[in-house]
Symmetry: C2
DNA sequence: GGTATATTGTGACAATTTTCACAATTTAAA
DNA sequence: TTTAAATTGTGAAAATTGTCACAATATACC
């Protein structure tokens, strides 16, 4: 119960449902969500059942009910504060990324070794890594984004965890070693693109 | 056979093995890879067996043999050309991302509506979207990265496919609709981070 | 009101994926 | 040379995940 795949599907549903809502719909059928997301209608229904969302036979599901259930599942009622390590290409893109706001995700501070970047004005204050304990403590942060170069990723990771971080989104191409209580999600841009390349050459015709 | 999960694990192995090689190792045991990647030793062995890599009982596997097999599996002998749509935050980060080179992935051109961005000098030439057919044709490109805003993603996607693109890495928070012969990988930064937040609050104590 | 139709909800089943356990085999050491 | 130890390779079992099919039921229409 409650596998990562399930959690991921919920987020996929939310995306499509938000879209359908904007377009003016208020109710949906499982097969409509299926068509929109590529997930089978039966699985959609099972997921919604697990979420405790009830549909009406022949009437479908109310979009708002599903959305509320999903948002509630993810605890979207509180603001989620995040710190970021590494203001390189990816770090800056993340800091400027607008969509986080809708999800009540807020990047409260960034860390970077480079003093020039600390002085420069970004949308988020940039501190030296030494400030990490203070910041994490002050803002009650649990989650960090690692966007530093591969060679320093493990060190940065260790320091973050020492400061109390328990969830990490990692962009560095490294298999980070973390204690059991820390959840880690690796975003491997290279690997992702490589898989696309691989599968696109495999597709028939 | 040959599930996406398997393909993904191969890339994970490659990452760890490259690292172990740099550190000076030439041979590994399955349990060593397991410790490095978090994938169970038995599964590592099964994957290597499927890859047709042979180990020596009591002697382990040769790192170079595994790496060659993986690189060969992904067809790393040819240069993989990719185009990018959307020179916003993420698009620029992708264009500047250095790691693609090691994988023989080359971003040959980018597209953006904004004429200012077309004039500006990036590491990659920026064209208006109309040039898409020419460029894709000229460079024999199969794969594209979509980094445009959500509202225009489907339109851009359709045009790319019309030009012959058959693999897409999509950063726009949209469930794109594509024909069967097109492979799509969605990189949902928001969702990814949201999952980290979710799991990090769930972890015990 | 009655009947046909559409859709949910779910138990049984199928498929896939992973783990387990151990025989086979190699190497090292005694 | 024999024995002990370590590690692969793999068939069988377990677990997980998703699909199928259909009863239950609500709705719409005649």
């Amino acid at each position: 119960m409650e596998s990562t795949a399930y959690t991921k599907r919920l987020l996929t549903y939310r995306l499509s449902l938000s879209h359908l809502k904007e377009v003016g719909l208020t109710d949906v059928f499982s097969y409509l969500i299926a068509g929109e997301t590529g997930i089978s209608a039966a699985l959609v229904r099972k997921d919604l059942a697990q979420l405790k969302v009830k549909g009406k036979r022949r009437g479908g599901y109310e979009i708002d009910v599903i959305l509320d259930a999903i948002n509630n599942y993810f605890g979207d009622n509180t603001i989620n504060r995040v710190v970021l390590a590494g203001m390189g290409n990816i770090g800056r893109a993340i800091v400027n990324y607008k969509n986080f706001e809708n999800r009540r995700i807020k990047i409260v501070a960034a860390f970077d070794l480079d003093p020039a970047k600390q002085r420069k004005k970004y949308d988020v204050p940039v501190y030296p890594m030494e400030k990490c304990p203070d910041i994490v403590d002050k803002y009650r942060v649990n989650v960090a984004v690692i966007a530093v170069p591969a060679f320093s990723a493990q060190t940065v990771c260790d320091r973050l965890i020492q400061c109390g971080i328990r969830g990490i989104m990692n962009f560095a191409p490294v298999n980070l070693k973390v204690p059991d209580h820390v959840y880690i999600s690796n975003v491997r841009l290279c690997d992702e693109l490589q898989q696309v390349i691989y599968h696109s050459t495999k597709t028939n015709q």
